[in-house]
């Protein structure tokens, strides 16, 4: 058996096996439990790296669950696939890699962060399920399966957000998220059912090959876009995000950031690969641009006035998602004309993908830094902190890297991706980069405030005993810091090696269809 052929299956199997084995792990001692957590997260990461590398040359990996052969998409002369399919191209492999890295970093961080709490069995099971759900969302090539993975990651996240069940705020945040999320899930199911009723198929490539441009398709597409925009935290459907991100344990928030990116992946896949004819160059593109601009601006405005560190970062997440939606909206607008694609469309898509990857790392790192401050001081209120840079130099250093990256300061990676978005959106209308730049300035102001409030100033008497956080937590943050620095130091290499292939995969959606449907 050639193991590399089965990588797409292993990607979901490993975290699922981790979740299934947790009743054993719960009875282990501390060391074995930690080794179990890190081993399964590490194996998932290795699989994701291998997958990502094998899609770089433009190959589309297809895996048929239960097939005579893993590559037999159309058995016995069928016209469209009926089995559960995984389909991973260069665009899909990027969020997969980000999720696996964030999951690994969150696992390292949680070893010490969650050490003194009970309920490890449940924590581990839900953590692995959430990882499996998010990875499955990016790997699947089947709409119904996508819904199933959305539900797996959502239900696991409800439990993890309310993990500290004695905290009313955590239970409230989880309940709020659950309520809104379930309504969204039903709408998603309704849209998928509509498409199934119309075409007798739920395979993404088959739908892409058959989809027409009637009212039914427009309604289904509108519902899917609305649901996924909600799941990635776009304004005005953002209300769950600050609460959820603030109340979840920080290792979980780190993973939640990338789960929202899986929803963003789904949104882009629907617009670019399944309904490119409907979405390109028209209302949908402008809708994404409008959602992006509003998310960027209102997100950062709400963030600036916050005094609670994780809540502040939650509002910044809305703002950052706005940048990506803006970039993808501009790319979609250009997709209607081949000339526009070459002039500014490819740059916009490249910027959007680059920013999505950057966001996954620096935002996850910021949440881990916030978790470290909470762990060390016992508060998340910025007004009560101060002078912590002396006692927590490593955390302070890594926070500076993440804050500079999110604020778009050169030479950090956030600057590169934002610059691509400014340049490309200028071609559509000058007001778009203007709003994006103002947002960036406000982001910088906000993070200067956080750094000054938490790390600078005179040491406070009640924090005399505060020391640097344990090595496990530092290791989790270090993984994400190294990724942020690598993306900052070698943006050209990452762009030509990774992001360009992803842009090609999105612009030429036929390659996604051909991988499953053959020469159609």
């Amino acid at each position: 058996m050639n193991l590399s052929d089965h990588l797409p299956a292993f990607l979901v199997m490993i975290p699922l096996l981790g979740a299934f084995l947790t009743p054993f792990a719960g009875s282990f001692n501390r060391g074995t439990r930690n080794a179990f957590f890190v081993t399964f997260s590490g194996l998932t990461l290795l699989t994701a790296i291998a997958l990502c590398l094998s899609t770089l040359n433009g190959d589309v990996l297809v895996y048929v669950m239960g097939g005579e052969s893993f590559a037999l998409t159309l058995p016995s002369g069928m016209t469209y696939p009926v089995r559960i399919l995984f389909e991973i191209d260069a665009f899909g492999s990027l969020p997969i890699l980000c999720i696996a890295i964030a999951s690994f970093a969150g696992a390292l961080f949680s070893l010490d962060y969650m050490d003194r709490f009970s309920g490890w069995k449940r924590f581990l099971a839900l953590y692995f399920l959430m990882t499996a759900g998010a990875l499955g969302m990016c790997a699947t090539g089947d709409m119904f399966n996508f819904f199933v993975f959305v539900e797996i990651s959502s239900i696991a996240s409800f439990g993890l957000v309310a993990f500290w069940r004695d905290k009313p705020e955590a239970v409230e945040a989880s309940f709020k998220y659950m309520l809104i999320s379930q309504i969204a899930a039903m709408l998603l199911l309704l849209a998928i059912g509509t498409l199934y009723g119309r075409y007798d198929a739920v395979n993404m490539a088959a739908l892409s090959a058959m989809a027409g441009s009637g009212t039914l398709e427009r309604v289904a597409m509108g519902l899917i876009i609305a649901v996924l925009a909600f799941k990635c935290g776009s304004f005005p459907m953002h209300t769950w995000m600050p609460d959820t991100y603030a109340e979840a344990p920080s290792g979980v928030t780190c993973l939640l950031v990338t789960v929202s990116q899986a929803s963003f992946y789904g949104l882009v896949r629907v617009c670019y690969s399944i309904f490119p004819g409907l979405a390109a160059g028209g209302v949908v593109a402008w809708m994404l641009i409008a959602l992006g601009v509003m998310s960027m601006f209102f997100g950062v405005l709400m963030a600036v006035v916050q005094h609670e560190i994780k809540r502040l970062m939650g509002y910044h997440s809305i703002s950052q998602v706005g940048y990506m939606l803006l970039a993808m909206g501009v790319g979609l607008l250009a997709l209607g004309s081949p000339e526009a694609v070459e002039t500014y469309g490819r740059a916009a898509i490249r910027g959007g993908i680059f920013h999505s990857v950057n966001y996954s790392f620096y935002k996850a790192l910021l949440f881990l830094c916030a978790g470290s401050l909470y762990y060390a001081t016992g508060t998340r209120d910025l007004d009560k902190m101060g002078g912590l840079a002396r006692s927590m130099p490593w955390t302070a250093g890594m926070f500076v890297v993440a804050a500079a990256a999110i604020s778009g300061l050169p030479p950090f990676n956030g600057f590169v991706s934002k610059w691509m978005i400014y340049e490309s959106s200028f071609a559509v209308h000058p007001i778009l980069p203007a709003v994006a730049m103002i947002t960036s300035v406000l982001t910088l102001a906000s993070f200067v405030k956080v750094f000054q409030a938490a790390f600078l100033g005179p040491a406070k008497a009640k924090f005399v005993a505060v020391r640097e956080v344990p090595y496990g937590m530092l290791a989790g943050m270090a993984v994400l810091t190294v990724m942020t620095l690598l993306l900052s130091l070698f943006p050209g290499w990452f762009t030509s090696g990774f992001f360009e292939s992803a842009v090609n995969a999105l612009v030429n959606h036929q390659s996604y269809v051909r991988a499953v449907m053959g020469g159609m």
């Binding site: 009743p23 004695d166 905290k167 508060t379």
Partner: protein, 162 residues
């Protein structure tokens, strides 16, 4: 939750067992008739709900062993995973032990439809365990809210905000 009348408990004592038999039937015939592991497992799991409603919470908690249902769930999940792995090297979930029409089975003990019915049974185990635990935990949480017993005081890393 208080016990109901003698009529209800007597009828429940008789009828609840039929739910188990019916649930197992639905699980075992899932490959050829409507139903399967999830549906049959859900029917079997109604047994605990019957017991709780008819006999009341006190007797219910004395009877139920949460660990046993946890074990059922674990065995079901692991069996499902292993039956899926039987499909290698063709593909995950491939039905490699299904018997073609007219061919001889590998063993008299293996079902002709292959892993489908085995996976139905695995899902059945899992769902019986999981849904029974859901009933148990939902009832336990009602008691927790009423009495405060079982609350661990784990409010995260809060120290100064309390």
């Amino acid at each position: 939750m208080k016990p109901l009348s003698v009529i209800v408990t007597t009828v429940s004592d008789v009828f609840a067992w039929f739910m188990i038999v019916f649930g197992v039937y639905v699980i075992l015939n899932g490959h050829s008739t409507p139903g399967g592991g999830f549906q049959g497992g859900a029917i079997v799991a109604t047994f605990l709900s019957f017991m709780l409603v008819a006999h009341g919470g006190k007797r219910f908690l004395a009877w139920v062993n949460g660990g046993m249902y946890g074990l059922l769930e674990f065995v079901g999940l692991m069996a499902f995973f292993l039956f899926g792995c039987l499909g290698f090297p063709n593909s995950f979930f491939h039905n490699s032990i299904a018997v073609a029409q007219g061919a001889r089975p590998l063993s008299e003990w293996l079902p002709y439809c292959g892993t489908i019915s085995l996976m139905n049974a695995a899902v059945g185990f899992e769902v019986v365990g999981a849904l029974s635990l859901v009933v148990l935990y939902m009832y336990s949480s009602i008691r927790m809210v009423d009495t405060g017993a079982g609350m661990g005081g784990e409010r995260g890393h809060d120290r100064f905000d309390r």
